[in-house]
Symmetry: C2
Subunit: 374 residues, 2 copies
């Protein structure tokens, strides 16, 4: 039995949305779920207690960054990532592939793996399926991701095909190299760019390898939003019902709603934390640019309906002041608010599915936005 | 009756140390006390709940910074500084004098006040006793400080004398300009540089004006530590027993112990928060440079005897990683630890005075340090 299993609880009768449970060595997670990102073993500015208090059950951490600093051996010496950062919930680690491929000038891809230079000190490094598994095993996350190539957008049909085929071969190598199957589960990643038949081909190949969960990678990388939705519609039907489905790198509120509608169970994205630090809050009525001068004298909370610590305790005028003055506490409050919003949006989505009103929930979601950016 | 009063509870029979209570509109504060600094209406990275949880009862905020940004009118519109930042404990505001005088190239002193340029945008501004009181009244802190000249070190005898005499004249103008005596108390500031007779002269002049509390300013500005102690010994006997005594800008642990021994009740300093952010922790065994490579694999807390959130939840290796990786949470943990240490050091000092063993406490304090830097 895999370390991590998925249990389907309920299927929305009118859409692809589904309610489920992800069972991991560090607890059960109701799905669909949004995973906050703690790139360097820390969700920027936020304590593990705060993450727990805002309802997060699983976070993502980045293999590439931890490999470079402090190094996976050090994390292993600490007893793994959970102990190192004192987070008792579940953790998912990516494979480092996405970051390495983003270093476009600094890396070289071969069948063996990817040679690259550290963005920190220029050191020559190499990641391969085997090395990624070694690192992810050392980190000890509940869910590990396979080492894939996140095909860039745009790419030609031919390149995308060759790339996804290599991703399949790498997935096989990952399965062989993964050494801690009792405590960690390895998820496969479907690629295939923006080509429907290649998405299906990749999904079939990856599913044939029988992973305990599947991710859809290479989306939200520059393609039109509708193209992303189209690709989900091509891919999800190829994935088995009894395994979790994870749409990588997606976190815009409408993308979450649409992803859920198309059968996705898990999401992650730096968007809420990154735009929060830039002064933009996510709310049910759309984005609130807290840095805007119009909020200088606004002593009401970011979102009067929100129950997060930022909205319970502080006004837009105060948070704006903190942001303008470069005060850390302002970044912290914005981050908390945005994570709280997304984590609770997923809770509302789950409730709607449970009560057989997900399509109505989706309509209300868009009505509340009323033309605002989400 | 003044808004803020001091009640002497116990005098150490063998030293000048004393136990007291500062009674303010926002609660009672056991003294001797250390006040964390929240320069821009925020103690860097820390929430008001965390400040309360670590035992802080009173914080200091900076008039100069709030005058420039967001502006005292805005804070008044929010209902004052307590409401603006959501801090229900007591607040002390300085007068802006210290910051303005630090802008050595940008300011010009006359009898009327100080013309200076904003360090933010170069705007021409003017602070005077009347303007400082207007701003401090708008901020609404429990304790306001008079607008003084913090005489630079070193200064000649003649300059120091003229400067302290002006500070006395400014103190009189502050008393006249202070408009909210029911809810805010104005403390006078003794200057006099490093000249014993000038310290006495300043203390006598300021005390003759009958403030509800007295600060000793212009120390810890570059003079030798022993000189600071000598000046305290010259000054404190001139101050009335039934009023609080505040040593401005002092926060090194040994300076706190020595200040208490010489009869000081209140202290503030950016030292714990600033050196914390730079990676240095204060502990009962001396400073711990958490950034040091020797702690890379040290999975024990900063101070095993400390019960702060950083020491309860995280290791030196993890905090070091956060600091090296530029993670905000690392700065937050270091700040929390250092404030917790100083606030609890003062608690230990109070306990020792209450139990008639302050001199023994002081000896143990130095023994524990055993030659380490404090």
């Amino acid at each position: 039995m895999a370390a991590v299993t998925y249990k389907l609880i309920k299927q929305c009768p009118r859409t692809g949305a589904r309610l489920g449970k992800l069972i991991t060595p560090h607890g059960e997670i109701d799905t669909p779920v949004f995973m906050p990102v703690g790139t360097q073993a820390s969700v920027k500015g936020i304590s593990p207690e705060e993450l727990e208090a805002l309802g997060a059950k699983i976070i993502l951490s980045n293999t590439y960054h931890l490999f470079l600093r402090p190094g996976h051996e050090l994390v292993a010496e600490a007893g793994g990532l959970h102990k190192f950062m004192n987070w008792n919930g579940s953790i998912l680690t990516d494979s480092g592939g996405f970051q390495v491929f983003s270093l476009s000038d600094l890396r070289k891809i071969t069948e063996e793996g990817v040679a690259f230079r550290s963005h920190l000190d220029g050191a020559k490094l190499f990641l391969s399926p085997e090395k990624a598994m070694e690192i992810e095993n050392a980190l000890g996350a509940d869910i590990m991701m396979a080492f894939d190539e996140c095909t860039p957008y745009p790419s030609t049909y031919d390149y995308t095909k060759r790339s996804l085929e290599r991703t399949t071969r790498w997935a096989e190598r990952c399965l062989k190299a993964h050494k801690n199957t009792e405590k960690q589960s390895l998820f496969g990643i479907v690629q295939g760019g923006t080509f429907a038949d290649l998405r299906k081909k990749s999904a079939r190949e990856i599913v044939s390898l029988d992973f305990p969960g599947y991710a859809i990678g290479g989306l939200s990388v520059g393609e039109a939003t509708q193209t992303m939705y189209d690709m989900l519609e091509e891919t999800v039907p190829e994935l088995p019902e009894n395994k979790a489905r994870y749409l990588m790198g997606v976190g815009r509120p409408d993308n979450l709603v649409e992803g859920v509608m198309r059968g996705i169970d898990m999401f992650d994205c730096v968007l809420p934390t990154r735009i929060g630090r830039n002064g933009t809050a996510l709310t049910s009525r759309g984005r609130v640019i807290v840095r805007d001068a119009k909020y200088a004298h606004d002593f009401s909370p970011i979102d009067p309906e929100c129950n997060c610590p930022a909205c319970r305790n502080h006004s837009k005028a105060y948070i704006r002041h903190l942001l303008k003055a470069g005060e850390m506490y302002g970044l912290r409050l914005m981050t908390i608010h945005n994570l709280y919003y997304l984590v609770h949006l997923m809770g509302d989505i789950r409730k709607a599915i449970a009560e057989d009103r997900f399509p109505e929930f989706r309509e209300e979601f868009y009505e509340k936005l009323a033309g605002n950016r989400c």
